[in-house]
Assembly symmetry: C2
Homo-oligomer: 211 residues x 2
């Protein structure tokens, strides 16, 4: 295992896993780096470099064993356990996130939902009751939550993050359009849909202006 694994490598591993699970369903026993690359938009050499950072999973002349590699990648990504996730902000984004079938299938369980709107508190989010935002620390501690999903307005996000971390949260998925300041040992993953749209706008605008 190398000192530092790049973010792009991790994202690609996630893609390989998707392809591998398709292959599992289709019953293939082995897969070549070429075919693994074909599924996502990368190259065979890239696949081999990525995987070689974590071990030698393939057999020369044959390829990678689908089931075993799939399991190895799950282990690398930390998906062999279940994660207890607390959603802060019972809005549409959280709703979209939890609607993904893969969300639970990959080991993420929504153990609590919080919201600061009294009109929402007391309602239900599937089988999970919506509790008041003030109970954040309590909820995190009682349920032993691992991850926090921050889906609140930008001006409330920093405070939510701080409180969650203080109460023991170990990672943050942040949908708010602000840069969260948290201790270095707490990873933050940012998702900003407007930024994605703007990147698309840029790309479409500059078509053909580059080589």
């Amino acid at each position: 295992m190398p000192r530092r694994v790049s973010d792009s490598t991790v994202r690609r591993l996630s893609q390989y896993l998707r392809v591998l699970e398709d292959l599992e369903r289709s019953g293939a026993a082995t897969v070549s780096s070429e075919d693994l690359a074909g599924g996502g938009g990368t190259t065979a050499a890239q696949v081999r470099k990525d995987l070689s950072q974590f071990g030698s999973f393939g057999k020369r002349g044959l390829g990678y064993p689908v089931v075993e590699l799939s399991s190895q990648i799950r282990s690398i990504l930390g998906l062999e356990r279940r994660w207890r996730v607390v959603l802060v902000g019972a809005g549409r984004i959280g709703s979209a996130l939890f609607a993904y079938p893969n969300f639970t299938r990959r080991g993420f369980d929504c153990v609590a939902v919080l919201d600061s709107d009294p009109a929402k508190v007391g309602g239900w989010w599937g089988a999970v009751p919506i509790r008041p935002a003030e109970e954040l620390e309590e909820v995190v501690r009682e349920l032993g939550a691992d991850l926090i999903v921050v889906a609140v307005p930008p001006d409330a996000a920093q405070r939510v993050a701080e409180r969650a971390v203080a109460a023991g949260a170990r990672g943050i998925l942040n949908f708010a359009a602000v840069t969260l300041r948290v201790p270095g040992h707490v990873p933050v993953t940012n998702v900003n849909l407007v930024m994605e749209l703007e990147a698309l706008s840029f790309a479409v605008t500059h078509i053909g202006k580059d080589a």
Copy 2:
């Protein structure tokens, strides 16, 4: 304008714009690269390098004029026009996307919503009627749509993309967990929430194992 602008640069421009708009509201006349960097998680040198790719917008000893730089970045990102966006798949993600206030504020108009579920067709999405998925080409052509948001199940995504591109769509925001194959002149931006969660899972799992 350089031959090739890196994706990270574009994303940072988007961030600078956010900070600049805050500064506009607070009435500041100029801003230093230092302060622009402080808002997002980057450095002053990075800010200057990014901006210098598109021109000399600052004054030495003084900084960048807030209003003008804001306008310049909007122009660079292609946000000085309005984009006609068609949403395919009237589910939760599209709902979340369009709920962002910045969505319309930054120039994106949802001109049509399509869905293959007959139960949804005929309903309303705010002021926009939900039309049957078969009318995709028709809708794109009639309304002169620019961008397509693909928010359908993975196995339907490729076909939607192909049909949209054939009908004249110029860019795709893809929420489906598949790699779309489209002609090279049609940019695709992928958003995959499960992948983000898995990246977070990896990061939390490997805390302290790296330098």
